[in-house]
């Protein structure tokens, strides 16, 4: 068996495993202003995203759900990226930004839905709520 570091050079970067183990902003907010659920149709993973938006700014963010390491890490990283930022900024967050934060150059097509689950929910929520 190869050692862990050697194997992780491709997909399971240290940063992804860290976020997957200790996800940031995991849980629920007491009084969210906006909530949206989404599902990764490929595997059935469900995720709920909550925001507290005040004066065009995302004051608080929380999310919960069961997912694989990629979807958990990308949700965690996305929550870091948008907390305290303006709606305008959150709207611009892209797949590229997520990949960069995760230390990846690209994602396998079959894992793309895992990577983008939280991002898609965020984008839907922002569109639906006319934020």
């Amino acid at each position: 068996m190869e050692n862990r570091k050697e194997f992780m050079s491709d997909l399971y970067q240290e940063i992804i495993l860290e976020h997957a183990k200790y996800p940031h902003h995991f849980g629920e907010l007491q009084h969210p202003t906006h909530t949206l659920k989404g599902v990764n149709a490929r595997c059935g993973d469900m995720l709920e995203l909550q925001l507290i938006v005040v004066n065009g700014k995302i004051q608080e963010v929380a999310w919960k759900g069961n997912g694989c390491a990629i979807s958990t890490a990308s949700s965690s990283i996305l929550s870091d990226l948008i907390k305290g930022k303006t709606i305008a900024y959150a709207k611009k967050v892209s797949i590229k930004d997520l990949l960069k934060e995760m230390g990846l150059e690209t994602i396998l097509p079959i894992r793309e839905k895992c990577l983008t689950l939280a991002l898609k929910i965020l984008q839907n929520l922002l569109n639906k709520s006319n934020l």
Partner: protein
């Protein structure tokens, strides 16, 4: 010498030589270990050659051109159809060619369901059903203001026949849609008993045969169910061809739902009359090459002998159950009795999502399926987020299961679990 057979013995190493893809290397220099045959099986060279030969030498539309190629193509197509029907012990006129199991079940839903289901009727599926034998009936029930419900599944992955009987006793049940072998948990359902019960109460039985067709002998005339759908690509044939077998007494009463060329008798502005069986339900140019390929696959399976194929499968399933259940972090789903299962072994890995398990196995060259396997009601019922499934076919080996078990050790290395 016949493929895979030496002195009447089942020789998996010899069978493997007929499947060039199995010697592929993946992930650099790793030997491919293909344990995803329930999603689609690999195809022997003979199937690929036959399809190539069809397009190279015989290609012409069927039932149309009065010329040499048209004749040859038509007779190749008809012979292939007959061979496929024979493989299942059915008459040529009981086989409707479709693209796959899903299309077969949907076709039946329109061709039989639209006419026979009405308000107040009940359609019964099961909690272990693949979405393709669940959603079409659920949607039909909605259209018809009928009731749709699902037979419960016991903790160990078996159907609750008492529940089925309770439902039948309401005398509202018109149809039972049930899977022969579960694609998610491998359960072999007691189809014979289900048919007895259902017919006693006047309900028809539609069987999803996607996972049984290539794993066990299926004799359509011996079994009493009313229809059976299968996919060619799961039984060593090409993608894009499958079949729906329907009892002779029912098939002629079906209503065509795809109209056009090839399925008509006469057409005028006022009226259309339809062709005789089996053309009546095949509108448009059929996939002749795939039909040819599937017929060759059926011949290949016949040569191996389906009884031996089933025995081989049972050995693999027993071996996988033994090896996987010995792993501390692995929990097998579905029946633990090998006699009650077929084709695959699915499991949960404690604390690690199935997608991650599959990804790590892939890095070792092992191909498995992860997710809900199109059985969301079952996964939801048991609270499984996603499962990992290793599935087999005639070319699978116990050595491949050893590689799977070895590769699973890597999950522990990466996730520390």
């Amino acid at each position: 010498m016949l493929p895979g057979i030496i002195d009447g013995m089942f020789d998996v190493q010899k069978i493997r030589k007929d499947f060039p893809i199995l010697s592929r290397k993946v992930q650099g220099s790793k030997q491919l270990v293909y344990l995803d045959s329930a999603a689609t099986s690999q195809k022997p060279q003979g199937v690929l050659d036959a399809m190539n030969e069809y397009y190279t030498h015989f290609n012409a539309n069927v039932h149309r051109g009065i010329h040499t190629l048209g004749n040859e193509s038509t007779s190749v197509f008809q012979n292939s159809r007959q061979k496929i029907a024979q493989f299942f012990g059915a008459d040529d006129n009981e086989l409707i060619l479709v693209r796959n199991t899903t299309e077969g079940l949907n076709a039946l839903c329109y061709m039989w369901g639209e006419k026979h289901i009405s308000e107040g009727d009940m359609i019964v599926s099961t909690e272990m059903e693949h979405h393709s034998n669940f959603v079409p009936w659920q949607q039909l029930a909605k259209r018809k203001h009928a009731t749709f419900t699902a037979v419960h599944v016991h903790e160990h992955g078996e159907l609750d026949l008492h529940h089925l009987e309770e439902l039948l006793k309401t005398k509202k049940v018109k149809l039972i849609a049930v899977v022969h072998v579960s694609n998610a948990i491998g359960t072999i359902n007691p189809i014979k008993r289900i048919v007895e019960l259902s017919h006693q109460y006047g309900a028809k039985v539609i069987v999803d045969g996607a996972q049984s067709a290539s794993h066990m002998p299926v004799n359509f005339h011996k079994l009493e169910y009313d229809a059976y759908a299968f996919s060619g690509h799961k039984m060593l044939g090409p993608m894009g061809i499958g079949g729906l077998l329907v009892r002779a007494k029912i098939i002629d009463e079906l209503q065509p739902y795809v109209f056009g060329g090839g399925m008509i008798d006469t057409v005028s502005v006022e009226e259309t009359t339809f062709a005789e069986l089996p053309d009546k339900y095949i509108a448009g140019t059929p996939d002749v090459a795939s039909t040819v390929g599937l017929a060759v696959a059926c011949g290949y399976l016949n040569t191996i002998d389906m009884k031996k194929a089933f025995q081989h499968d049972q050995e693999l399933v027993a071996y996988a159950l033994e090896k996987l259940s010995a792993m501390k972090n692995v929990k097998i789903v579905g029946p633990l009795d090998v006699k009650k299962r077929c084709g695959s072994v699915a499991f949960l890995y404690h604390g690690v999502h199935a997608h991650d398990v599959a990804q790590i196995l892939d890095s070792e060259g092992v191909a498995v399926r992860s997710g809900h396997h199109c059985t969301m009601p079952l996964h939801t019922k048991f609270g499984w987020i996603a499962t990992t499934r290793a599935s087999f076919n005639v070319y699978s080996t116990t050595h491949e299961i050893d590689v799977l078990v070895q590769a699973l050790q890597k999950v522990k290395v990466v996730f520390g679990k």
